[in-house]
């Protein structure tokens, strides 16, 4: 039982990383109808930025500053590279974001070098005993922060004027434009939010492990999460992210005993198997809305 609970909390912790990334994907998708494959690069850049800033101003100042800076970077990318592509086929734009991803990542890698950089977080690998179960503090922090961020984000969309504008754009861009909403700034804002979320996720990935050039691979796990939850559902992104984290962690704990023939690293690809299974049953994910087709 202890093993199960530990595994579950580990899953929720890493799942909250995926959830933050998935939220970024979904926010961009909802407003611009494009999947941004640049998220991994922003995540990496966020973690690297914190690893430099934390030495100067401390971890807790560095994280929000880095998130804001990455948000500005994402906004700049949207403004310069993506804005001219409005109206082009979604696939073309998606490929362009892969191009952006490669460029940003290579530039960021130059700042990492060959060593692992530390982000200077106060938790590291230290543990705490919670209800008789020993768990790592960092997973609790990740989960807690994510819950808070999600709450703030959802209330922002629900109650603020800007959030209302974003929901309107997600619903119908032309109608939103007719109501006096600047669709362009909503696009930019959604990229900025996604960039900030990615930076935060990057810091979480780096806590306890450090930043190296392979960190970005983690961000690809958000892809099964968004497909699982449904591309256009914010709640689905959170649920999908947590589900991917938990499945990955539980498979990692038990698959070695139950099904050793699947190979030692099966946990890493388990989210994709989960995604395939769910999609065969529900082609638009768990919470995604079915596309309305007209001739």
């Amino acid at each position: 039982m202890t093993e199960f609970l530990q595994s579950l909390i580990r899953g929720l912790g890493s799942g909250s990383i995926y959830a933050l990334l998935a939220l970024g994907f979904v926010i961009i998708y909802k407003s611009t109808r494009v999947i941004s494959f640049a998220q991994p690069a922003f995540m990496l850049a966020g973690a690297v930025l914190v690893s430099y800033l934390a030495a100067e101003v401390g971890f807790f100042v560095a994280v929000p500053v880095a998130a804001v800076l990455i948000a500005v970077l994402a906004l700049g990318v949207e403004r310069t590279v993506l804005r001219p592509m409005i109206g082009k086929p979604v696939f073309v734009v998606a490929i362009i974001t892969i191009g952006v991803d490669v460029v940003v990542r290579v530039v960021t890698n130059a700042f990492i070098g060959l060593d692992v950089r530390q982000v200077g977080d106060p938790w590291g690998l230290s543990t705490v005993v919670l209800l008789g179960v020993e768990v790592q503090q960092r997973y609790l922090v990740m989960f807690g922060t994510t819950v808070a961020v999600v709450a703030v984000l959802f209330s922002f969309f629900r109650f603020s004027r800007v959030g209302l504008a974003m929901r309107a754009v997600a619903y119908d861009q032309e109608v939103a434009l007719a109501q006096g909403i600047s669709v362009g700034s909503v696009f930019a804002l959604s990229w900025a939010i996604a960039g900030g979320l990615a930076a935060l996720a990057g810091v979480f990935v780096a806590t306890g492990a450090g930043v190296d050039q392979q960190l970005w691979v983690i961000a690809l796990k958000a892809l099964p999460a968004i497909i699982l939850g449904g591309l256009d559902s914010l709640g689905g992104a959170v649920v999908g992210g947590l589900a991917v984290g938990v499945v990955e962690s539980l498979v990692g704990t038990y698959q070695g005993d139950v099904a050793p023939w699947l190979g030692p690293n099966f946990a890493l690809v388990a989210p994709y198997v989960l995604m395939l299974v769910v999609l065969l049953v529900r082609p638009y994910g768990l919470f995604g809305s079915k596309e309305v087709e007209r001739l």
Partner: protein, 366 residues
Amino acid sequence: MKGRPELYTSYAQDTAFLNTRPKRTWTGALLVVALLMPFAVTDDLLMLLATGFVAAIGAIGLNIVTGYAGQVSLGHAFFLAIGAYTGAALSGDPDGRVLGFGVTSLPVWLLASGLVAGLAGLIVAPLAVRLRGLYLAIVTLGLVFLGEHIFREWTSLTGGPGVGRPAAVPELFGVRLDRASALFTGPQQLYLLMFVLLVIFAVLARNLVRSRIGRAFAAVRDRDLAAAVIGVDLARYKALAFAVSSFYAGVAGSLLFVVNGFFDPGSFGLLLSVQYIAMVLIGGAGTISGAIMGALFITLLPRITRELPTVLPFISADATGAVTVFQVEAVLYGLLIVVFLIVEPRGLFGIWVRVRNYWRTWPFSY
């Protein structure tokens, strides 16, 4: 119609294989140049070109499913891997360290690799029938990760990561084509082999896409619901597109490492898929010649960037300097895709069309 070569009086004429006279002459000229190449170019460049031809077969395959039938597949690396391992296992040494059946005859393992990969494509196809657009792209991406895992763990077949296994043995009628013979060197023979195979598969693909099936693909790409309404069986044609594309990927995969002779499971990652997407997009989606141009361009690109340090001294040739060749190469991939998609969405093929149209009416072009 003598003297009026561009006046078509029948549909068959319009959709003919090479429907204009310039196309016939230029294709002929290109064929001759390509066949004379082995006698004019050094062996290492020939090997690179041979790899480019193989990549072109794979790119044509991706172009059939993505460019013609409009089903975005990021899973091409998975099918390439299936082809590569089928070919390598069939022709491998039966007493070797890794799985091998000793069937070294090239036509046999080539077709077998294509068929096994095509079958895998057919198995994946039901997903494509149910899913559309970005959902499909990400699911096919998932295939790449699953494939990577399987091939990493299945060490008796693949030799395991970092170790690898020998590639398929190119033996035709009892002659090892990768070894020098009385007339040619090994690279020259491989170059000619790959070139002949590319021509065969390009002609087959061209014939497929200008047939009834090709028109059905285009209808599915342009608006699948409308295609269904006019009587195109969506499930059937999407499955067919995936099967044909995977067949091409399997063939290309089995040949891809013949030139190098060795490969490991790490070769079939996301990067490979993105490279093939880049070939199709930079070359020009929905054209056979574009796919070939794109594949040659992407294959030759590393060679060009390796030359950069001699021109731009601030780029260092090894991995030590501040700006290395490898970084420039990676950035160049991204930038090229972005620049092409923004400036010339029809790719190299589009540039060629513009050049052609300029000279067609020269000196009265505007």
